[in-house]
Amino acid sequence: MGNKNSKITTHDRAVLDLLVQRDKLKQYQKKIQTVAEKETQVAKDALLKNNKRVALLALRKKKYQEQLLSKTDAQLLNLEQLTQSIEFALVEKELLAGIEQGNLILKEIHKEMSIDKVEKLMEDTADAIAYQDEISELLSGKLTNDDEDEILAELAQIEKDQLVENLPAVPVQDFVSEDITEDIEESIPQQKVKVKTPQKQLP
């Protein structure tokens, strides 16, 4: 149990000890509560037999148990606060480790890209882009006027096609809805038939 390369730290064990103490306190409280309830019963029984002395003793015992109970309540609260602070501290510790790790990596990455390098790279890129532009210009210069005309014609054709596609659909609906209103106005019995048919299809 827990001796093979366990992920359990000494912190965990310390927390467990606290939790066990909490469980024990809770069990103790349960015990006190049952005892206190019993004393009340004893007092009631004694009073029925007119034995005031026993009843008083039982009630005193009960009072004492109740005092114990409230004391353990305070202890429980203490324990719980302690365990929660430990848990929270552990979370903070992990968070700190995480941030440290992130920082380290960020620094390493920065080492690999010095400002000079980046500046030179950006210059090179700008040069390359300029060079590319020059090539494009030279190439497009080679196109004849006929080619240009063809290109423009194709562009116009595509634009026209897109225009047709984007036109709103031919309003069929308007036509149908008129039909329906006529139907309703003309014949109510027809509607009843319409309602019945889907019911027949059900089974």
Binding site: G2, I8, L19, V20, R22, D23
Partner: protein
């Protein structure tokens, strides 16, 4: 107990309480008895069956028809249930107490693991006591789960690598840490 358990009609059938020597009849009898035991235990959330004690309970003693199951017949029934993974003898080879699995330890393990995930207790530490008796699990299915079944379910989670059990300063108190994978 809260609301009464409704026994099936076979429970009022006198021959049901005597061992049936015909193989097929016996198998049928065992199947029906184990079904009744499982649903009775599920209904009342019971886990342990003390054989001689329970022979006086309404489960095995039908006062209405004045029939009672015999101890050796009950032992044979439990033996069959053990074979099928529905029960386990508490301390074999003694056949005095059985643990009834109306939910298998694997299923309990899944329930517990789901709860851990949903309650966000991943990576924190719990005591075995608080899983079964703590305020946080009150109203949950595994509240007041039998200690032996609970330990078995936790062992399953440990083997899967989603939890680890460990001891504090005193060896009696066992804690669990859940890692929340799977």
């Amino acid at each position: 107990m809260s609301n009464a358990f409704v026994f099936p009609s076979i429970h009022d059938f006198p021959p049901f309480y005597t061992f049936q020597p015909t193989q097929t009849t016996w198998q049928n009898q065992v199947a029906l008895w184990s079904e009744i035991i499982l649903s009775y235990y599920r209904h009342h959330k019971l886990y342990r069956l003390e054989l001689s004690e329970s022979l006086n309970s309404e489960l095995f003693h039908n006062k209405g028809i004045n029939r009672r199951l015999k101890l050796d017949t009950l032992q044979m029934i439990i033996d069959e249930m053990v074979k099928q993974g529905m029960a386990e003898w508490d301390s074999p080879p003694k056949k005095t107490t059985a643990i009834i699995y109306w939910r298998k330890p694997e299923e309990w393990a899944t329930l517990i693991n789901n709860w851990v995930f949903e309650a966000g207790i991943t990576n924190s530490i719990l005591t075995v006591y608080e899983i079964a008796h703590g305020d946080t699990t009150e109203g949950l299915e595994f509240h007041k789960l039998d200690q032996i079944i609970l330990m078995k379910s936790l062992d399953i989670l440990v083997k899967k690598g989603v939890a680890q059990t460990f001891q504090g300063t005193s060896a009696d108190d066992i804690g669990v840490k859940f890692f929340g994978i799977n």
